[in-house]
């Protein structure tokens, strides 16, 4: 693949600097907001559900919408994680079963 002509230096600096600022503000905003408000009632229940909801959302497409092999491998990963309680072991089990099941089920 041929390399493209480089973008102008000023644009490159502005783009990277702006992207860095955009990313950091998203990382800092959650704490900045939460340390200024008191969370009770419905909002508290909302916030408590967020971690699980984010994890479920990250996993959902690759677990449930990427074919039977990946869905089964996700199930195996969950089972290993539940029985062993060790993330690296569950990760190895997941990658191994995904490889095997994809070869078997296509």
């Amino acid at each position: 693949m041929t390399n493209l002509a480089p973008a102008p230096l000023l644009d490159t600096v502005l783009a990277i600097g702006g992207m860095a600022l955009a990313t950091y503000s998203s990382r800092a905003a959650g704490l900045a907001i939460m340390s200024r408000i008191t969370v009770t009632g419905r909002l508290e229940r909302f916030m408590k559900a967020i971690p699980g909801a984010i994890l479920a959302s990250i996993v959902a497409p690759s677990a449930l919408a990427a074919g039977p092999a990946d869905a089964l491998a996700t199930g195996i990963t969950a089972l290993v994680a539940w029985r062993v309680g060790n993330v690296p072991v569950a990760m190895l089990a997941g990658v191994g079963s995904a490889l095997g099941l994809r070869a078997l089920l296509g």
Binding site: N3, A53, L99
Partner: protein, 246 residues
């Protein structure tokens, strides 16, 4: 899944031991991140970014999805404003991730907390949250520096692999050939199981899953994570309060 959301005033320790615990806990998934760092370095070179520019992006922006999307938009005519806006939108999910760690982060000095947050990624957030909720369940003390250590593991791996992809690697196999793409699904699944969802968490989790799947089929990028997070949070907020344990 019991997370304290009311602010506590007692300070958390912030030790070197905490940093190294976080580093070690996040190392396996950080290596998986490296595969995508190599891909980014490779794309950056093809798009005409110098090694210095690629490394300042990996070091300063440090956001995998946004950087890969940026390479898609990169060219001699740089759409600077849309690059910045896209990055912001892609990273909005971090607002909720940072908020969910606030019960611990508010117990650090602002410098410790906002410094550690610079290094927060999906992976280090999830590993840290898993660790802190386990600490809480077992009633053991948490170390505030764990998030920093976990973030640094990803940071080193991301920058090293960017340099590697830019300088050495001439072509990259599809990570899926080795099942490496599944490493992320596996880790996040294991961390979700590790949160030990209870009965009242099930409906919010189903809502999150359904919203994420629906949104994934309609919209590009990472909107589905934000949509799922909101759906799960709303379901939990709208359901009647199941228990009022302290």
């Amino acid at each position: 899944m019991e997370l304290e959301t009311s602010p506590t005033t007692d300070r958390l320790p912030f030790t070197l031991g905490g940093v190294s615990d976080g580093l070690r806990a996040c190392m396996p998934i950080a290596l998986g991140v490296g595969v995508y760092g190599i891909l980014f370095g490779l794309l950056a070179r093809q798009k005409g970014l110098s090694l210095g520019a690629a490394l300042s992006m990996s070091g300063g922006v440090f956001a995998g999805a946004s950087q890969l999307i940026a390479m898609d938009l990169w060219g001699p005519d740089l759409p600077v404003v849309s690059l910045i806006l896209t990055t912001f939108i892609v990273n909005l999910r971090h607002v909720l991730m940072g908020a969910s760690l606030s019960p611990w982060l508010t117990r650090l000095s602002p410098g410790q907390a906002y410094g550690s947050l610079f290094f927060m990624t999906d992976e280090s957030w999830a590993v840290t949250l898993g660790r802190y909720s386990t600490d809480k369940r077992r009633n053991t003390a948490s170390d505030g520096a764990f998030l920093l250590g976990a973030g640094l593991a990803v940071y080193f791996s991301w920058n090293l692999s960017t340099a590697l992809g830019h300088t050495l690697v001439r072509g990259l196999d599809d990570p899926g050939r080795y099942g490496l793409d599944f490493a992320f699904t596996a880790v996040f699944t294991a961390l979700l199981v590790g949160l030990k969802p209870r009965r009242q968490d099930i409906l919010p989790l189903i809502a999150a899953t359904a919203a994420a799947l629906f949104c994934r089929s309609l919209l590009p990028g990472k909107w589905y994570i934000l949509a799922g997070a909101f759906a799960g949070g709303l379901a939990a907020a709208l359901l009647p309060a199941k228990d009022s344990r302290p």
